[in-house]
Structures are given as structure tokens and as C-alpha cells.
Amino acid sequence: MMDDGTLRLMLDFANRPHKFFFAGIVGLFFVTDREVLVHYSMIEDALEYEHFLVYGGGHHDIWELEYYDEYGVDFDYYPRGRIAYDKESKHFLIFGDACIKSVMLMIADLIERSDCNAMVFVDQNYVCYQCNSNHSEV
């Protein structure tokens, strides 16, 4: 049984004293213009794909259920990404939209501060409204 958790973080979450450490979780996230929305499960509750641990939820379904009424835009309006874990290399893998690379690097930094390894990947599967509208300049 997957034990889901949710978090709403300020955009400058990495500089907050009571920050949430991302090490030990897999999940997905959205970066809106005012906060970072994280849905996660602990890696011991994650789905296993070969030597990877991944979060079972999907961006569309979670956005529709949790945030559509509040934000009034489709799930792909804001940039988004995922956190997975590679058991073989013992790295957390952070995938996401090119325009939120700084946020992904902050997540990676927090993970590494917990003595874990992390890698960041800009992923073409995640392209937000702004990047879609003018993607050549991203």
C-alpha cells in the first residue's frame, strides 16, 4: 500500500530553516508562481520497476483532484517534474521541465545534504505552457 504525502513549499524552500529534506522519498511536483507542490511516498512504499523506485501517481490526476479548482488552469500550465530512485547506482533522479532546473538543483542539493546522491535531468516529457508557447527560447 502506497503511503502518499503532500507538501506545499515556498519557492525559496531551500533557504527556510525548517526545510523538508527530499532524501528518502519518490514523488512528483509542480512549481507554480507561488509555491512548490509535492506529492510523494517514502521509498520503502514506492513502486518497483527493475532497479528503480518510482511514485505511482500521475500529474494529471493529482492536479485535477487537488489543484484544478484552486488554480483554474490545466495540469500542464505550470512546470512539473518527478523524483525517482535508482537502487543500483544509489542515486535519486530528478526529472523535470527545463525552466525549473534551478528548483531541481535545489532539491538535489537538499538530498545531497542528507548524504545521499542525486542527479538532475531536464526532461522533454515535461514542458509547461510558457515553454510550449515559445519553446525555442528556453
Binding site: 532497479h51 500529474h59 494529471h60 500542464d76 535508482d86 526532461d123 510550449n132
Partner: protein
């Protein structure tokens, strides 16, 4: 200006047997791929740096497909043909590459190369 236009796409690959009764140019079943290659085309204007329509998310492409197709296939690859530094460039989801390519019955290196071949012909990569 017609000369400024270049055709781009977003695409997904669904691994699985051909679904019966589907007859739509948007769902291309390929025996060698053992699955469907689904394109979403749009035109990109090199002068204005804008697409003619907003490319939809891969998830929406998947949701818009007939249920008979999505229920019997596994989504194994997604990516786009983009226009970067003056030329078309194929970009494939790192998440799919990294994780789903490890799965049995999912995208293989051969499939990936074959998709590159198809898209290369279509889009002058």
C-alpha cells in the same frame, strides 16, 4: 512566410499488439516497432520563434486516444522533435529512457533507434 515554417511534433510510443477496428491516420501501428507511434504535429515559425498552435502535453495525447488502444498497450517512450540552434532535433524523455527502458516488454534500444529513423525521415533531422 512559408519558407520560415518547419514541421515539428510531439510523440508517444505505445508498446503492444494492434487494436482491431482502429482506422485513423493519427494512430500508426508499426510491426517492427511492435506498437503505436502517435504524433501530434504542429508548425513552427523560425522568424517569430512561435508554434502555430500550442503543443499539448504528452499525457493529454495519451488521454485523447481510444480506450481500446490505451488499455492494451504500455506507454514506453515520449519525446518531441524540436527546433534548436537552427535545426530540428529529436529529444526523448529522460524519465522514459532511464526507467521504462529497463522494463521487460517496454522500449528497447532497437525501438528507440527505429523511432529515430522514422522521425528522421519525417522531419529532416
Amino acid at each position: 512566410m512559408k519558407d520560415n515554417n518547419v514541421q515539428l511534433c510531439k510523440f508517444i510510443v505505445l508498446d503492444g499488439d494492434e487494436a482491431e477496428g482502429l482506422d485513423d491516420a493519427n494512430y500508426i501501428y508499426d510491426e517492427k516497432l511492435h506498437g503505436y507511434l502517435i504524433y501530434y504535429y504542429y508548425t513552427y515559425n523560425k522568424a517569430t520563434h512561435k508554434p502555430d498552435v500550442l503543443p499539448i502535453a504528452h499525457e493529454k495525447m495519451h488521454q485523447n486516444l481510444p480506450t481500446v488502444l490505451t488499455e492494451n498497450t504500455e506507454w514506453v517512450m515520449s519525446g518531441r522533435v524540436d527546433f534548436v540552434n537552427g535545426r530540428c532535433r529529436l529529444e526523448i524523455s529522460e524519465y522514459m529512457n532511464t526507467i521504462y527502458n529497463q522494463l521487460e516488454n517496454s522500449a528497447t534500444t532497437e525501438q528507440l533507434i527505429y523511432v529515430q529513423e522514422i522521425l528522421g525521415r519525417e522531419f529532416n533531422l
